[in-house]
Symmetry: C2
Subunit: 239 residues, 2 copies
């Protein structure tokens, strides 16, 4: 594949597998989720947010290239904060806007096991794969900008009580496309055989699957629980 | 042990085991090493330098604490550089001042196997230990400031041809004590049982041993080679 063809192939993966089409997101963006369901989403997604700098530090530790490390460390700084507030803190602001207690969220005690396993699978993927695959797993950011723009409109419209917690998404609107462009250029340059290109595509697919699985867990527990009771200890909305 | 007693215990380890007393360093500081032996030291020590940000990224990836990650990432920035030149680049300037080709040094093809194994053992130690032990392994920096000050005088006096390459040591004169103070406070706070304190001490001992082993390899090959020929591929001074 040429660089353009690789980009198109990744785009196809995104269209088919990225979580913008997950029913939980479709309902969120249509304004169909309750306050409790939105709280469950914010609470559970915090676990993913909290693992991002850990994931990026693992990628840093896999690189012998000063230039890659210098570029990649931006992600850690974006999330942990510098002179300004970082992404993790901004997510906690979203949680507080949603009416959740900050320390309850930070403890991660009440998150769904299915969410935890999916996020831990991301850490495992990055830990146990090559640097190229680890970098490629971040290529979901190619699709994040559009989803975040859509989400910001939907949250403002349907869940106005969250309005003081949207700084995270403002930040990601510019960060995600910058990060994605760097990661794609890196992947395109280093995947110089059909086999390596297939690993790039596969890594993106695996990342899409683990984002999707997090929403599956939320959907099953909080939207369509059927006859199963929630596992003990997990968050239960007041209603 | 109280915090003061722990500090004293670590000081004892440093006095007994830190590489400031290694014969290779004693000869270096007395001006007894040849240009070729100094080149061998600079070349081999580059491998250690090149692994420092990797080691620090592993430590970052082990921490769930934003505050620790924010403090610790300074080390990666110090070594990889930011707007200014980083420690790895400064070491390459030292190598060029010593008359070595930059790309030959970066390739690390000519370093001694014994140096490589010792440095790789450091990465293994940090990878496979707890965060407390990994942080504690950096406590050799408690003793680095004094050694670096001594070395800068000795290099200026005995090896004036290195004078354009000393920026690395200037930087470390302030960085090492800052880093050591943070790491010691972290270790003292988190090692709150005798068992954990013994792990802190043991981790410092292991780090001292692997610094020492690097100089042993240099001493055996380049100062007191005895009857053994150097392994193929390793650096041989012109003389």
């Amino acid at each position: 594949m040429s660089k353009t063809e690789l980009r198109q192939r990744l785009q196809q993966v995104g269209e088919a597998m990225y979580h913008h089409k997950h029913p939980f997101h479709l309902q969120m963006h249509a304004g169909q989720l309750t306050r409790g369901q939105m709280q469950a989403w914010v609470l559970n997604r915090y676990y993913y947010q909290s693992r991002i700098p850990i994931k990026d530090a693992i990628i840093l530790s896999k690189s012998e290239d000063v230039a890659l490390r210098r570029a990649w460390r931006k992600r850690i700084i974006d999330h942990d904060g510098d002179t300004g507030v970082g992404g993790i803190e901004k997510w906690l602001q979203l949680a507080e806007a949603a009416g959740l207690d900050r320390n309850y969220v930070i403890s991660t005690h009440a998150i769904l096991p299915g969410v935890r396993y999916a996020v831990d699978a991301y850490i495992d993927l990055v830990t146990n794969s090559t640097l190229l695959e680890a970098v490629s797993s971040s290529l979901t950011e190619l699709f994040a900008g559009q989803l975040i723009a859509l989400r910001m409109d939907a949250l403002a419209k349907h869940y106005p009580w969250l309005q003081n917690g949207l700084a995270y998404f403002h930040g990601r609107l510019t960060q995600a496309p910058e990060d994605a462009a760097f990661a794609f250029d890196y992947a395109a340059e280093h995947a110089d055989t059909p086999h390596l290109q297939s690993l790039v595509v596969r890594s993106l697919e695996r990342k899409c699957a683990l984002l999707w699985a997090q929403l599956d867990a939320l959907q099953y527990c909080y939207v369509e629980p059927g006859s199963l009771p929630p596992q003990p200890d997990v968050f239960r909305p007041e209603e």
